[in-house]
Symmetry: C2
């Protein structure tokens, strides 16, 4: 791929995958990180009110993987971009180069109409932060990237909406302004609820989605599962929870009465159980304030089948929500976060299962 822009020595540079693998641009390392589509759980929003006609994802448009590659902050340092003085950092400068404020990534894929290559940008401060987690990755879960996942090389931007993790990387460039592509300027912006069309949207007044909000979902039992109360008295509920921006999850709660009361689930795995790090984190220890979490947590909780359902059977409705370390939690109602694009849906996640009576 090509690396260019202000502050880059010898710009434009041409950097090969072989150079990256040999460690010429920094040591090879691995990191567990979630990528979540902005439209994860869009189908739930669409059930409230019509959303723009895009992919009606359920809660599976998210994944946690072990990424192997090179840290982008190390690569940019080697390419010439110096750490800012602390005085300049205090004033918001991401590096010693005044005119570099954004990192633009271009992919080899292009739009069928017009032929423009996919392009997105992130604030350069994120890319240059040694704790920002941004990588150039060529392996996913220990194997070369599959074509669908961006072979041979992709950007991985942990904590940010998935679309910034540009696949099939063609070019990285530094710029004073963010990408001018429609993917940056229009597609991944949350419209205020009054908008039910795109035609009058004042996109310039809306910030692009970067970090994603607190999220959680119930994976098991699946919706529509049948629980035979003559066979079981309790059911294990299991799922994931994650928050963007590197903010650790502190708690996951489950409710069987539409949110009136909540039981706290047990977190059984953090940071992919430690894959990519030296030590598996203790899931029972409270997350440290200021530490970064890029991976999801897995949680579980056994719930007793309610006596009335044991007796008569019927629909059992259970929901979950999580808290991040800033004490932010998820909104109960889909209507309160509904937006015409169907983005960043993080209302409580419900699952309905059918209970057959014990008698």
């Amino acid at each position: 791929f090509e690396l260019s822009g202000p502050g880059i020595n010898g710009s434009p540079l041409s950097i090969s995958l072989e150079e990256l693998k040999e460690g010429s641009w920094g040591p090879v390392s691995s990191r567990q990180a979630v990528l979540q589509c902005a439209g994860n759980r869009r189908a739930e929003m669409a059930a409230v009110k019509l959303v723009e006609g895009r992919a009606p994802w359920n809660h599976g448009s998210i994944g946690n993987a072990l990424w192997t590659g090179v840290e982008v902050w190390r690569l940019l340092r080697k390419a010439g971009l110096q750490r800012p003085s602390e005085d300049n950092a205090a004033a918001g400068a991401p590096s010693s180069c005044d005119s570099a404020q954004h990192l633009i990534a271009e992919g080899w894929d292009f739009h069928a109409e017009g032929g423009k290559h996919f392009e997105a940008s992130i604030p350069l401060g994120k890319a240059l932060d040694p704790t920002g987690g941004v990588m150039l990755a060529w392996e996913m879960n220990g194997a070369p990237l599959l074509p669908d996942h961006g072979y041979p090389l992709r950007l991985v931007v942990p904590g940010f909406v998935g679309t910034r993790s540009v696949k099939w990387l063609k070019r990285l460039s530094l710029s004073a302004s963010e990408s001018s592509s429609a993917w940056q300027q229009k597609d991944y912006k949350i419209l205020p609820q009054a908008y039910t069309t795109l035609s009058k949207a004042d996109f310039a007044s809306m910030p692009p989605i970067m970090a994603m909000p607190v999220q959680s979902a119930i994976l098991l039992p699946e919706p529509g599962s049948v629980i035979d109360a003559s066979q079981v008295s309790a059911v294990w509920f299991r799922g994931y929870a994650w928050c963007g921006g590197g903010l650790p999850i502190t708690r996951v709660d489950v409710s069987a009465d539409e949110g009136a009361t909540w039981a706290t689930a047990k977190v059984v795995e953090r940071e992919g159980g430690g894959q990519g790090s030296d030590v598996a984190p203790d899931p029972n220890a409270p997350p440290q304030v200021g530490s970064r979490a890029w991976s999801w947590v897995k949680w579980q909780l056994p719930l007793q089948v309610p006596p009335t359902l044991r007796e008569s059977g019927g629909k059992w409705r259970v929901c979950c929500k999580a808290f991040n370390i800033n004490c932010d939690s998820q909104p109960g109602s889909l209507a309160s976060v509904w937006n015409f694009r169907g983005l960043a849906c993080n209302a409580w996640h419900y699952v309905d299962v059918a209970v057959l009576p014990a008698a």
Copy 2:
């Protein structure tokens, strides 16, 4: 006050207010920042279910002020604590000194029983971050601190729960571990909902509150106001919105139908209108991803008196919620965030006003 601990040259140092004012420990500067009590809006939680018997605050246990003093990161640099290498920063080190991980602040105030001085700590990374905003302040809104606000000198930790902004400062010390005081270890922790007593709480499993979640409230009209629909057809709703952790507020919504539909309010002031900075930020411009906001925003929105209330009069129930730049918003239900200590209440904020019919 006294400054001591690993990495401090000549520890313990005695630093006078005069030295601070003369600029010996860094230039004197000013910053707008909100301080919010962990118990802001506790009264609303208490209405759901009994909370521990402490101050039943409404939504006024929060304030935005212009603080004048010295940046703590500059003071600690001058005292000898060096910036970590980027390799060490990537591994989570806040400074070049391995054994300094927390900044403990002690006040001159003490507990009536036992005589222990008030003490709290923050992660040292927050204090040493040039964009972390932590100050030692001797002026509030351009005048010397009043006794109630910590005269002569206090710590100001923007974005964190108010209790960490230790008043009547006696001592700052660096430590490998956080403060062992009950104020740090027990008082400002959110108990899972199952706890309705403190006696069995496993406090070690809960992280202390530091950054606070998205918050907003309606200030006008006040609860119980009477609107005469024969005199007015619309009412201006006004309030504040703020988020901890320096995360900018991107939007404030108001609903007159319990959250089914929302209108977006106009943000009329950001960052205290620019007090403490060179330029007043444009309240209409979208906040930049990665920038820090410590001040609240003021918002307003005119709502038409609903036709049914115009005709027949009655109770008009309006609520607000805000979004931060990570797309986190506020939960609708108080029950979902209820906790026995009554902390970090950030459910939608409701106000009920009375409408007299127009006829």
